[in-house]
């Protein structure tokens, strides 16, 4: 029968729903697909139900007919406590008599009791500092329901009443649509202060945003309203000091309401660093997750503290996780973390939960147990995890990180500035939190002008870029007057076009779309070339420019195509010996060197320099770039002997030039030669000078600084300056992480270098952590099968042995070996290195019987393969082994052999 079938189907649906709902949201889809594989209709119903469940919000949560005083259940679900599952909300006490006893024991008012002129309707909840009641003023003709906060009896404070009197009128005068009004306040007969506030029915902002699956833009818009309210309060000299989701309720109409403004300060007027007790109490009472560093340290708290808390809130609102997880942290750890570390950028925490079991400091966002799945977080924002990451990366990262700076004066100066930046982001204008780098501004420009016709946009981009390059060359003094004239008129044409484009472009914005320079170039370059079909000189300039951009983006094959086209065009226009031809040759040589065609590159660069030297035999100052390119090419060819005199010449030329455009590169090139010629101290000085000049010109967080800083680190390390090396690597790392993103190829290298410094400094815990980060980054770039990951695992194991945990190292190494041996073959050098590390771990563990054959076999393999350094390591390890075994006599042959070896090599 149909009805029976229906009931049968319903019961199945019911069972499956119960099972599915218990699973993490991310796994539900797979669950439905699995159990309903053969019953698509059932699967659809189940899916619909699950979606409805997630979206139902507070639907029907509050009964139409509510329970009240004295009824079988004495209190309803507190409607402000939105996190409570309605069906799980227990009444405060189901036994009225028990309630009475219990209540009187605690001295808490019961339903119907009065606090001041307010009659308690029901308790709403228990806060850290107070008990909260829903109440009504009997003589209020409007029967307005209010919230009464009654301060905990043990927090009574003799001074509080006086403060209440002085501050109450200030707080009561705060009239803003997004701030819950403070109506009244006073002290009960037994001296407990209370506050009477507007009753707001709503959900905590984070809960609201997830329930309604607000997008990133909607969340940002909602948050800006919060900033508006905070700005208003700050202008009235009221600091909140306890901003957190449960104090920002969003009503069903989507309006946020900020609760408890100024209350925290009233209750805790002057925390000072020496009042350790007060600070500790404060910390215990407030949620440390949203506290600013100065709050946690018990320092003076101002509006900047609210900015920090808002930064945490925005972090959570957008990335779905907290910047730091303090679930198990002690106050000391919290203080250290907040003052010493930056949180991971929001975009880095949304893709995969990081499981750094080794990390002792509470740095990773979200603990394993309460960690929401990345896919859930993203889905609540109607995105996939990688889309969310892309959305957050860049501007939003920068905005949030600016609010979260540990130094108060480096945060946004006001909530208004904070809101401005978010608004600028929404309109695709450059945000203040990011220094206006060249690429960044142009990227913004393109995103902003998307509504204009495609060709126009492309023109804007390519010509803006072109103009930038031209502007850099602006001061170049050309040898030939004609050339100068010609180039100037070209430049004027380009600039005129640019200006026209900018004026024409529609200022309307379209949100949320990213448009990379590469995409813009790919789609626009052909059109541009067609547009310039009858202006070959300009077309050549354009090709040279786009080729240069592709080169800067690391897209060498594309760069090559454009530069070769530019070269042949210029040659046909101006002949082989024209300065513009030399410049394109020079740039093309650089590209070819990067492509591995070193010989062709050499030939080209030699030609370019020859052209530039001309009859006089010396390169004009304006062409120092050509000389620099040649040094770069020669370094790529590893011909440092040939590079040295040219590097010296370039440096001298750059120093003598009226502008210093070419100087940083010349310095860095010269430094590179010095480093290769084993003059690390000299190299370090030159790298440092080069990096400083670049920082002066582009800002100290510009990506161009990464290479010189990394090389500076290497040079310092070789010169024995480990601290200086670490500083340089860390500086490079910061730029890479902020400006280049988590997947840039150079990031893993820098991390690896930094870890090496930690090893050399004996900072094993740090080394393990940084090696681990390097492995993460590398895996993301190269996939899980790249042998380099194995090498990083070996290095981590070495650090573990050095850190005194050889048993962990042994286990890790055995696992790594089992995993990699099949993958890369037992003959691979990394397998040998892992065996040696394992031998070392076993020696440290006293398992000599296992260690000895391993090291002997390793020695034989190393000798057979011709890896002398590894064989030497084996000998050293065998010597150590026998010393540890108490058989030094057996170690002697190894020691001798090693000495011979050293002598032989030395």
């Amino acid at each position: 029968m149909r009805a029976d079938d229906e009931i049968e189907g319903w019961n199945r649906l019911s069972d499956l729903f119960d099972q599915a709902i218990e699973k993490p949201a991310a796994e539900r889809g797979a669950f439905v697909a699995r159990v309903c594989a053969d019953e698509p209709a059932l699967g659809r119903s189940l899916e619909e139900l699950l979606v409805s469940e997630a979206r139902a919000g507070t639907f029907m949560e509050a009964p139409l007919v509510r329970r009240a005083a004295g009824s079988a259940a004495s209190a309803m679900i507190p409607s402000t406590d939105a996190d409570a599952d309605p069906t799980n909300a227990e009444p405060v006490d189901t036994d009225p008599a028990g309630d009475r006893q219990h209540a009187s024991r605690r001295g808490e008012p019961r339903i119907g009791d009065h606090i001041g002129a307010y009659r308690v309707l029901r308790p709403l909840g228990q806060g850290g500092m107070s008990t909260v009641f829903l109440a009504i003023r009997d003589d209020d003709t409007f029967k307005r329901r209010v919230v009464v906060k009654l301060v905990r009896a043990d927090l009574r404070d003799a001074d509080l009443e006086r403060r209440l009197r002085t501050e109450r009128h200030i707080l009561a005068s705060l009239a803003h649509p997004n701030i819950a009004r403070l109506f009244d306040g006073g002290t009960t007969e037994d001296g407990r202060p209370y506050f009477v506030m507007e009753y707001v029915e709503g959900l905590p902002i984070t809960t609201f945003a997830d329930r309604y699956q607000l997008s990133v833009d909607e969340r940002s818009a909602l948050f800006r309203k919060v900033l508006g309210a905070v700005q208003y309060a700050h202008q009235n000299l009221v600091v909140h000091r306890d901003l957190k989701p449960s104090n920002i309720l969003v009503a069903a109409d989507g309006e946020p309401h900020l609760l408890d403004f100024g209350i925290a300060k009233l209750l805790n007027p002057d925390l000072s660093a020496d009042d350790v007790h007060a600070t500790a109490t404060w910390l215990r009472l407030m949620t440390p997750h949203y506290a600013s560093p100065e709050q946690v340290c018990g320092k003076l708290v101002g509006t900047a503290s609210d900015i920090y808390s808002l930064g945490v809130l925005l972090y959570e609102l957008l990335a779905g996780r907290l910047p730091f997880d303090f679930a198990r942290a002690t106050p000391g750890e919290i203080e250290r973390t907040l003052t010493e570390r930056d949180p991971p950028r929001p975009s880095t925490v949304v893709v995969a939960a990081r499981a750094d079991a080794e990390t002792t400091a509470p740095t990773s966002a979200g603990s394993a147990s309460s960690d929401p799945a990345s896919s859930d977080i993203a889905r609540n924002r109607m995105l996939e995890p990688h889309e969310l990451q892309r959305r957050l990366r860049g501007d939003l990262d920068a905005i949030i990180m600016k609010a979260l700076r540990s130094a108060p004066q480096r945060r946004y100066a006001s909530a208004e500035r904070f809101a401005d930046d978010l608004e600028r982001f929404a309109k695709n204008l450059p945000v203040g939190a990011r220094k206006g780098t060249w690429y960044y501004r142009i990227g913004k420009l393109v995103r902003r002008r998307r509504t204009a016709a495609a060709v126009t946009i492309s023109l804007a981009l390519a010509l803006a870029v072109g103009a930038g390059v031209l502007a850099q060359k602006h001061a170049q003094v050309l040898r030939e007057r004609d050339n100068a004239q010609r180039e100037r008129s070209q430049r004027d044409t380009v600039l005129a076009l640019l200006l026209e484009v900018l004026q024409v472009a529609d200022p309307n914005v379209s949100l949320g779309e990213t448009y990379s320079i590469r995409e813009a170039l790919d789609s626009s370059a052909p059109k541009l070339r067609r547009l310039l079909a009858d202006q070959p000189a300009l077309r050549a300039e354009l090709l040279h420019t786009t080729g240069t951009i592709y080169h800067n983006l690391g897209l060498w094959p594309r760069a090559r195509v454009d530069l070769e086209a530019a070269l042949s065009l210029r040659k046909s226009l101006f002949g082989d010996r024209d300065p513009s031809v030399a410049r394109t040759q020079s740039r093309l040589a650089l590209v070819l060197a990067n492509l591995g065609e070193v010989d062709t590159a050499r030939a080209l660069t030699t030609q370019a320099v020859e052209t530039s030297r001309g009859a006089r035999g010396s390169v004009p100052a304006a062409d120092v770039a050509i000389l620099n390119d040649q040094v770069t090419v020669l370094c790529a060819a590893q011909d440092y002997e040939a590079a040295l005199p040219l590097a010296e010449e370039a440096l001298a030329l750059a120093r003598s030039a009226s502008n210093r455009e070419g100087l940083p590169t010349a310095l860095i090139n010269r430094a590179m030669v010095a480093l290769r010629k084993d003059e690390p101290t000299h190299a370090a000085v030159l790298f440092q000078q080069g990096a400083e000049l670049l920082a002066l010109r582009f800002g100290d967080d510009h990506p161009r600084l990464v290479n010189p800083l990394s090389n500076l680190g290497s040079a310092r390390r070789r010169a024995g300056d480990l601290t200086g090396a670490r500083d340089a690597f860390e500086q490079a790392l910061t730029i890479q992480q902020t400006a280049l993103g988590e997947t840039h190829p150079t990031l893993a290298i820098t991390l690896n270098n930094l870890a090496g410094i930690h090893v050399a400094r004996g900072e094993h815990a740090e080394a393990i952590e940084v090696f681990g980060q390097a492995a993460d980054v590398f895996e993301r770039q190269a996939g899980p099968d790249h042998p380099r990951l194995f090498f990083l695992e070996i290095q981590i194991a070495q650090s573990r042995i050095a850190a005194g945990t050889p048993s962990v190292a042994r286990e890790d190494l055995q696992q790594s070996l089992a995993h990699w041996r099949n993958r890369i073959g037992a003959e691979h050098r990394f397998v040998l290195l892992a065996d040696l590390a394992l031998g070392r771990a076993l020696t440290a563990l006293g398992d000599f019987d296992a260690a000895e054959p391993l090291l002997h076999a390793g020695f034989d393999r190393a000798m057979a393969a011709g890896w002398q350094r590894d064989a030497a390591s084996c000998l050293a390890l065998l010597r150590t082994l026998h010393e540890a075994m108490g058989t030094p006599e057996r170690s002697e042959p190894f020691a001798r052999r090693l000495e011979d070896w050293d002598a032989g090599e030395g």
Binding site: F17, R55, M60, L64, R66, R67, N88, I136, E218, A252
Partner: protein, 204 residues
């Protein structure tokens, strides 16, 4: 605190106790009595709606409920059953009222107004009562127990333990069944309106 209200109609208590001891006749006498009481109550509440003071505070309802029985004389289970009964009756009264109101508004060519204006913040998500009633009937066709749970919770204000006592099931089961029923009803009632979009529009 609440003043002890003298029971308006002592017989109800006795009938309730008798019913809970298996006297079905007592129930037959009880229902019309309670119904009349609830009607009077609902009528008072609903009349005040015209003057823009609707179900001002649900506490009133319960004070009225309590006036009907001497709560101290009935056990916890009996109380639960009594409230369950009230829930059923209250649902009927409120639905009847909503139906009449809709008919009269239609007659005037006006719009169907929400029943309880003062619950402003819930307004956006309060279901249309007539639609809810129909959906509950459909739910009862599929699983009558789930429909009861909704009725007890939503129209009677019973909590989980009370519902468990009335229906003779565990409170965990109540939680599960409620969760699914709520989701199903939400879908039934919200299909034409996407709450997310409504919120998004408000946020502008």
């Amino acid at each position: 605190m609440i003043d002890a209200q003298p029971p308006l109609d002592a017989p109800i208590t006795g009938l309730l106790i008798a019913w809970s001891h298996g006297d079905e006749q007592a129930r037959d006498v009880l229902v019309p009595l309670v119904y009349d009481q609830l009607c009077a109550l609902a009528g008072g509440i609903l009349r005040s709606e015209r003057t823009n003071h609707t179900l001002a505070s649900s506490a009133l309802v319960h004070e009225a409920f309590l006036r009907m029985v001497e709560i101290d004389k009935v056990g916890w289970n009996d109380r639960a059953h009594f409230f369950a009964l009230c829930a059923r009756l209250m649902r009927r009264i409120l639905i009847d009222h909503a139906r009449k109101q809709r008919a009269s508004k239609r007659g005037e060519g006006g719009e169907n107004l929400p029943l309880f204006e003062d619950r402003l913040s819930d307004k956006a998500r309060d279901p249309d009562l007539l639609a809810l009633d129909q959906a509950l009937e459909r739910l009862a066709d599929r699983n009558s127990q789930q429909a009861r749970i909704v009725e007890l919770r939503y129209f009677g204000g019973l909590d989980r333990e009370e519902i468990a006592a009335v229906l003779g099931i565990s409170s965990a089961t109540v939680t599960r069944r409620w969760r699914m029923a709520r989701a199903w009803l939400f879908r039934q009632l919200s299909q034409p309106v996407d709450p997310r979009r409504a919120v998004a529009e408000r946020l502008g």
